[in-house]
Symmetry: C2
Subunit: 351 residues, 2 copies
DNA sequence: TTGAAAGCGCTAACAG
DNA sequence: CTGTTAGCGCTTTCAA
């Protein structure tokens, strides 16, 4: 069923039906009525590919996320989806499995649909992918990077504008805040447990900032990498290393920060099983504030993230850019360190 | 940059470039080389909307899920996404928020892209949505219903074919298995805690089957509905009702089954907090087997679901149907009741 | 208020 | 092996 078919039914030409569909007011009432009936009878659904081709517009938004199953990105996807639907845009989505090569490949595929805007995760891309994004933006397609706002150092008093609009937060800042939280509770022997997903560079960067801040404050920091596989099990598996670390000449770790709440929960559960006192013997700090974190016993301290908001704000930013193209912005969203029982301050003497 | 541009660069016409892109073997090596260079230089990305329009094909798959953030559907989406990407198809996704009206509205929007196939969640649709799906299938677009395989009663010895291919499992069967599991552990006073998401009819159907099976075995069953809002909190909130139920003339509930693991975890954590013995005083059975279920203390019995497989099998089914259209099939995927400590058999005397 | 002509970027079918 | 012609279904621009 095409526009022509229903035009024939209504005794007009295709263009009139097309007009009716877009600006009903510009069609005579009598004609409109006949068109409406024909539309009803046939159950016509306009072909958006043809429409987009003719008008050069496009109603698709392409989004690239590392993984749709990961609750962090799933909520962002939901936020994006809901906000775009409300604006009449459709979401074309692809997962990259944290791989820059797959991101490039999928970006190329999605760009073939001439999306109205592009959303990518993070600020690291392959050279070719970056070139594609630049070209897209130069061609008037807004590009938004999510989950990673990275302020460059200020030049001449103000920070330079980013290449693409960024919606998220500064992972360095979070890493530092995590360190400061543990330092404030009196800890001086810290550990950071990095993600087993090696390509999750944001987790790695948080760890670097964590370590730098801790060392700057005179604390010792050890970095472990969780084994790959189920992250809760990985967190359990990491606990022994945390407990025995530096047992010889170096004082033992008294607090550990984790790349995510799954790992931290694993460690917490394993500590419980081994009757290791948390936070007395070992304080634990997660990242992500997953719903269960606050429910465990002891409740897990964590960093609450604007997971859904990143999606909705990204949608808003690209809608705004579509209407009135402007320079790339940095949209910093709030996060908060939720201090709970697992890091309750004990005023430990520094070792 | 269009096909014409790079054709001009390579000194050929557009159709030759088009051929090179689709069947490189059918152009002369020398020509191919020039085209390749031109492609490289310009960074050309073929316009798929135009290609699809001309060829009548389309490389998009439309998927409708209740919610992308819900871990159950998020994993299915990931499975779908990965399997489709591997086959060179893109995923156009929309969320319905468990609403049939929104499903219909979004279905109409997605159908405008003339997708190569359509994936919808569940077997209930508005009349108009069902008509759209029928029309799509009649027009050669495979339609797959996921998460709900509902065998009709057999006529003349064999069950009738479903309207659309279904990929999932039978929720009635799961509901019965949940009841049987608790009955086998000696329980005779059961409860089913339904989802606070009223439109989640699959959870409701499991509850009905659960209750029917339990009553058929001579047990008493009470059905509660979890309050809306955070499901873990809802599970916590429901516990008192379970503990006090029937305390007067009717014997107390000794085992409860839940619409999902979030609710069950909430109840488990609340039981722990109140030092209510699980499973001795109250056995708890979840649904979904979320990663944390097995990690809690006591570990939560639950029903493990083919979450990712539903996505991958749906992709396979629609790819197969694209290549060789056949009758709708019912693809039943396996699930398993994981008996853990929270329902460990206590051989309770029936009341 | 409606229509005719042209074309969006690409591909099918045929011809050369 | 390559090109010509004629669209896919819709919208733009202009004219009536």
């Amino acid at each position: 069923v095409t526009l022509r078919d229903i035009a024939a039914e209504a005794g007009v030409t295709a263009i009139t039906v097309s007009r009716y569909l877009r600006e009903p007011a510009r069609v005579a009432p009598a004609t409109a009525e006949r068109i409406r009936e024909a539309l009803q009878r046939t159950g016509y659904v306009p072909n958006k590919a043809a429409g987009g081709l003719a008008s050069g517009s496009g109603q698709l938004v392409a989004a690239l996320l590392p993984n749709l199953a990961n609750s962090i990105f799933a909520e962002t996807a939901q936020g994006l989806s809901a906000a775009l639907q409300a604006a009449g845009l459709e979401l074309l989505i692809a997962s990259t499995d944290y791989s820059l090569e797959r991101e490039e490949e999928q970006l190329r595929a999605l760009l073939g649909w001439r999306p109205a805007a592009v959303v990518v995760t993070g600020r690291r891309h392959s050279a070719a992918a970056a070139a594609l994004l630049d070209a897209a933006q130069a061609g008037g397609t807004p590009v938004v990077e999510i989950w990673d706002c990275h302020p460059e150092p200020a030049h001449l008093g103000r920070p330079p504008a980013p290449r693409f609009t960024q919606v998220g937060f500064d992972h360095d800042e979070v890493g530092r805040a995590m360190a400061e939280h543990l330092l404030a509770a009196g800890h001086r022997r810290l550990a950071y447990v990095d993600s087993g997903v090696a390509a999750d560079y944001r987790a790695h960067e948080r760890g670097l900032a964590f370590a730098a801040a801790a060392r700057a404050a005179g604390a010792r920091v050890q970095t472990l990498v969780a084994p790959p596989g189920d992250p809760i099990e990985a967190g359990r598996a990491v606990l022994p290393a945390l407990l025995t670390s530096g047992s010889r000449r170096q004082a033992r770790v008294t607090a550990a920060a984790f790349a995510n709440d799954h790992l931290a929960c694993g460690a917490l559960l394993e500590a419980h099983r081994r009757t290791v006192a948390v936070p007395e013997r070992l304080a634990l700090l997660g990242f992500g504030d997953f719903p269960l974190a606050r429910q465990l016993e002891p409740s897990l301290s964590s960093v609450a993230l604007p997971r859904v908001e990143i999606g909705t704000h990204a949608a808003q930013a690209l809608l705004a850019a579509r209407q009135a193209p402007g320079p790339a912005r940095r949209i910093m969203l709030g996060w908060s360190l939720c201090a709970r029982a697992s890091t309750a301050g004990s005023g430990l003497p520094s070792a």
